[in-house]
């Protein structure tokens, strides 16, 4: 029996966390490019293999085959690189990344690109709800449709969707842009603080304090540039929505502050 000090503590009540997992070292590396098959690997093994290649082997282009809709793949990558997923991702894909250019040749589940700092994520299929939640920077391009509440709490960056979008899109958005080419569900831009939402299709209903904005040349320039970069063809005509700032009460003091001033 091991002494108390030596005992390794691991919390694995549900058999999901793998505290002792190691990178499986299965990738084939050639000319600075790496490919590996994720079919029989666990989430942690896939992420550890990605990190090993990007940080230790200095590979800048990794292709992951058969991601199989597993959750939390490609999370927390903090270096400039190119990652290709040849299939769909589950929930929380490419969250907390800073720098990579990711191409998902399938769909993504809920909360893709959550809290992304910079980089590009291009998704060929659909996306689930909460796409780009708390996005800070970079571009998220979804070629299918997005679910509900995309760009909730968005603080920067750009979300582009070529298909429809669900309810409460841009809920409590604070900065950044959304370019939505399809129809949008109810409550668009509800309680947004700032930022811009462009919609080409029909809007089912606007959320609280979201109002149509005035179109400027800068808007045209932005949309044309983004469409050109991602090869999305000729942009359709967009409406612009911004915050009405009716809920702004920043000048009013809180009751406790008022006492201090008096």
């Amino acid at each position: 029996m091991a002494a108390v000090g030596e005992r390794r503590v691991s919390y694995d009540a549900r058999g999901l966390a793998e505290p002792h997992a190691e990178a499986p070292r299965v990738a084939e590396v050639e000319d600075g490019r790496a490919v590996f098959d994720a079919r029989d690997l666990t989430t942690r093994q896939i992420n550890l293999e990605l990190r090993r290649l990007l940080y230790e082997e200095d590979v800048a282009d990794v292709t992951v085959q058969n991601p199989g809709s597993k959750h939390s793949l490609g999370v927390g990558i903090l270096t400039r690189c190119r990652i290709t997923f040849e299939g769909s991702l589950g929930y929380f894909g490419c969250g907390l990344v800073d720098g990579p250019e990711v191409h998902v040749k399938g769909r993504v589940g809920w909360s893709a690109c959550e809290n992304m700092m910079s980089g590009v994520v291009v998704v060929d299929g659909n996306a689930g709800s909460l796409t780009g939640a708390a996005l800070r920077g970079g571009d998220v391009v979804v070629k299918g449709r997005v679910g509900a509440r995309s760009g909730i709490d968005q603080k920067g960056g750009t979300i582009i969707s070529l298909g429809d979008a669900g309810s409460m899109t841009g809920f409590m958005m604070q900065r950044g842009r959304q370019i939505l080419c399809g129809d949008v569900g109810p409550g668009l831009g509800d309680s947004m603080y700032d930022g811009t939402i462009y919609v080409a299709g029909k809007v089912k209903s606007l959320g609280i304090d979201c109002v149509p904005g005035e179109w400027t040349d800068a808007d045209t320039e932005l949309i044309e540039r983004k469409f050109r970069i991602y090869g999305l063809g000729e942009p359709p005509a967009f409406q612009k929505f911004v915050c009405g700032k009716k809920l702004y009460n920043y000048d009013n003091l809180e009751p406790s502050e008022r006492k201090l001033v008096l």
Binding site: G68, S69, R107, N126, G147, A148, S167
Partner: protein, 310 residues
């Protein structure tokens, strides 16, 4: 959290027991407390009743075995007293049974009420196609215990439960049978906030509730609407207005499988449709557990009701 799954084949019978086990096992992380199945066979003139005489975690006191045997005897006696022609009775586990019988002249509500009058007895399902199996543990455990991998049928739904609103026991596990209507079952992911209002309303019209679980009212609510002549789709559309809270639920009858998502789109659902099969689940990984290749899936939007008929 909870995870729900459903699969319906458009033609023929398939190994839905095996499929559903794979789907639910891959979503084990969404709910490790209990696992439940509602499996549908092609219509049979026998009625199949699944019932339990104790819960999985009932304390095993001195008289436990005696009591079970006595109660089981009473079940059979009451079945016979209603002129049921018993075809077979299987003891699936220590406390769960499956009885197949014909009931030439009897009403199902009366039968269910008489059986449930026996102490600790709960009818889990009753129908010509439907069989509900639920127990504590993950899908592999439950499928092994009840030998479900060989179950062939037309469609199935399932549920992995993370208990939030009521106890961890079989009574609180999904799917729910729509007592006293044959062949209707529901699995639900979410919370209903006008549960007590509906429970009282449905109790006044004569329904019983076996659990404290909010999801149970969805099944009875739908079944009552359908008994008044509504189609499954209409009943589900009404529920969007009349049930409050957050929910994504799957409802099944002997011929149809439907899914309903609330106005907030708060709970997930991923949907795959092909010429041969429709599969849906809280996570795509569950669908990929039975269709092992890259597929096109999408998430239905808020307030959507979708029904597939066989």
């Amino acid at each position: 959290m909870c995870g729900i799954a459903g699969i319906i084949y458009r033609e023929g019978t398939h190994e839905v027991g095996r499929d559903m086990t794979r789907m639910l096992q891959s979503m084990k992380h969404r709910g490790p407390d209990s696992t439940g199945y509602a499996l549908y066979r092609p219509y049979d003139h026998h009625l199949v009743m699944r019932y339990k005489l104790a819960d999985a975690n009932t304390p095993r006191d001195f008289e436990f075995a005696d009591r079970l045997a006595r109660h089981q005897g009473q079940v059979l006696q009451r079945l016979r007293s209603m002129d049921a022609r018993i075809h077979e009775v299987d003891e699936e586990t220590e406390y769960a049974y499956r009885a197949a019988f014909e009931l030439p002249n009897g009403n199902l509500k009366e039968l269910a009420d008489r059986i449930e009058d026996i102490p600790d007895c709960e009818v889990l399902s009753l129908g010509h196609s439907l069989e509900i199996v639920k127990d504590l543990g993950d899908a592999e455990e439950v499928a092994g215990q009840y030998d479900l991998r060989g179950f062939t049928g037309t469609h199935a739904i399932g549920h992995v439960r993370m208990a939030t609103e009521s106890d961890v026991d079989i009574s609180g596990a999904h799917p729910y049978w729509a007592y006293p209507f044959t062949d209707v079952a529901v699995v639900h992911n979410g919370q209903l906030t006008n549960y007590f209002q509906w429970k009282r309303r449905l109790e006044r019209s004569g329904h019983r509730f076996q659990s404290e679980c909010d999801s149970e009212i969805i099944a009875v609510y739908l079944a009552e609407k359908m008994s008044e002549g509504a189609t499954l789709e209409d009943a589900m559309k009404d529920s969007l207005e009349e049930l409050d809270g957050v929910f994504t639920y799957i409802a099944v009858t002997a011929e149809a499988l439907g899914v309903c998502k609330d106005e907030m789109a708060a709970k997930p659902l991923v949907l795959y449709e092909s010429d041969g099969v429709v599969a849906l689940a809280s996570e795509e990984i569950a669908i990929r557990a039975v269709i092992d290749r890259e597929i096109d899936t999408y998430d239905p939007y808020e307030g959507e009701v979708l029904v597939w008929q066989r």
